[in-house]
Symmetry: C2
């Protein structure tokens, strides 16, 4: 059969992605405004809360805020199920929580949000206002995510969370180039699409070569550690039923290295930060 | 062939274990004295530092100190390789570090300890005084561990670290039953040996049934999460070359659950704490 057409990045809505990207700039402004409100009101600590994939996604913001924040800035990444069981001794009615739920119904997050609201803690959520979590936090504290995994939902969540967290840093004098960050990321979606297209042949090659491996390692660190977990656990384990082992580059040499043998693909997510 | 002798818990030096246990009580007193010195001098934050297995082992103490500590107690579990790359914004010359190295030469820990000493940070180590790390921290700040994996080294490390950390809590008024803890654990080693013996037939059964499984899951949480990692990574991956996937019970339902299928053993480490 003759090849009559080459379909680029299949099952990916390119136009929708770019449209979402444009809309995201406006949504980002809303996130920034929420951060400004928090900065004006004051806060004693920032809690980033998720479960599973949302916990992974918020890890990069925890990394950035702790890296660039001043000594007195308290930022904690918490897991909703663990918080429900244990609470957190540093959380008070002056604390602020950022959470996310694509479905709008994640039970652990819903339970936590209700308890937090009862404690008088300010909660902001990346979720649809009409969902159960959206209703619990209130529409004015919600930012709807235009996200689906088919069109790169994760990176949009990263962007929105960063608009909130990096703005908080900025207001403390810790991230002076916040406006430049917004300006530079405004039209980044076209570039992100181009990167996808350029990577397509390599992705196809990797998939053909390694997709059926019975067990695959993924190594990451620093700002990319959350994404390393997310890719392994949410994309490959949950969605593709692949057996993976993710490990930080810092600990790889303390055990998992022993399992590298012929037939075990090892993927390295190389970042640009000091943990590389 | 007739069975003439039943050897209990093979490759385990029972007498040596009990002797070590007795000696440990004295070593624990030294740990307690070091904690008293730190409490007398004052400190702004406690850092528990390891890599690989030592990081895993210290996780239970981080959990206990954060659980029972007052709101102002700062306890951080840090990874030596990451600290070498990033430092920690809350560490000052008033901070105190507890670390461990069985070999006495762990390169990441050695590098970190030297830098910390240069910063004027107090460092205490569970390691042999004559080792490189022991020399770097000074013999007066070392507590030698009588530990080898064949005779239950991990639990002795847990005990010694707890003598230090729980005593710090006690001196803050947060762990009032410290003396009772010491009293109750003084003769625990015989019980620990009995538990091992009682579990022996079950362990043999589990080993026969599951040892050759190509991939095994281990689920834990709370105080047992560090041990869940340690058992999977250090005991099975590093020493037995087994493929494992360890996962917190809080996140198990957010992805890894999908990989439970016939032939995949799932081990659950059930603790006694609120994360159970």
């Amino acid at each position: 059969m003759k090849e009559t057409e080459k379909i680029e990045i299949m099952h990916f809505d390119q136009e929708g992605y770019l449209e979402d990207g444009k809309a995201l700039y406006e949504t980002g402004k809303k996130m920034t405004a929420l951060a400004d409100k928090v900065a004006d009101e004051g806060y004693d600590a920032v809690f980033l809360m998720g479960v599973g994939g949302t916990w992974d996604e918020l890890m990069q913001l925890e990394y950035l805020m702790n890296k660039f924040g001043d000594r007195d800035l308290e930022v904690y990444l918490i897991h909703a199920a663990e918080w429900n069981a244990m609470g957190h001794k540093r959380m008070t009615e002056k604390s602020v929580v950022l959470t996310a739920s694509e479905s709008g119904t994640t039970p652990e997050v819903l339970e936590a949000v209700k308890k937090m609201k009862g404690m008088g803690v300010r909660v902001y959520a990346m979720t649809k206002p009409e969902g159960l979590i959206g209703q619990a936090v209130g529409a004015e504290n919600c930012v709807a995510m235009a996200s689906d995994h088919g069109s790169g939902g994760c990176e949009k969540g990263y962007y929105l969370a960063d608009c909130f967290g990096l703005r908080l840093l900025n207001r403390r004098g810790c991230f002076p180039k916040f406006d430049l960050f917004i300006e530079q990321t405004k039209d980044i979606w076209k570039d992100m699409l181009d990167i996808r297209k350029r990577f397509e042949p390599r992705a196809e090659e990797l998939a053909k070569k390694y997709a059926l491996a019975p067990y695959t390692m993924f190594i990451g660190s620093g700002a990319l550690w959350g994404e390393t977990i997310l890719f392994s656990m949410c994309i490959l384990e949950e969605m593709q039923w692949k057996r993976t082992r993710y490990i930080t580059s810092a600990d790889f040499f303390h055990g998992t290295l022993e399992l590298v043998e012929p037939g075990v693909p090892v993927f390295l997510f190389m970042g640009e930060d000091e943990n590389r």
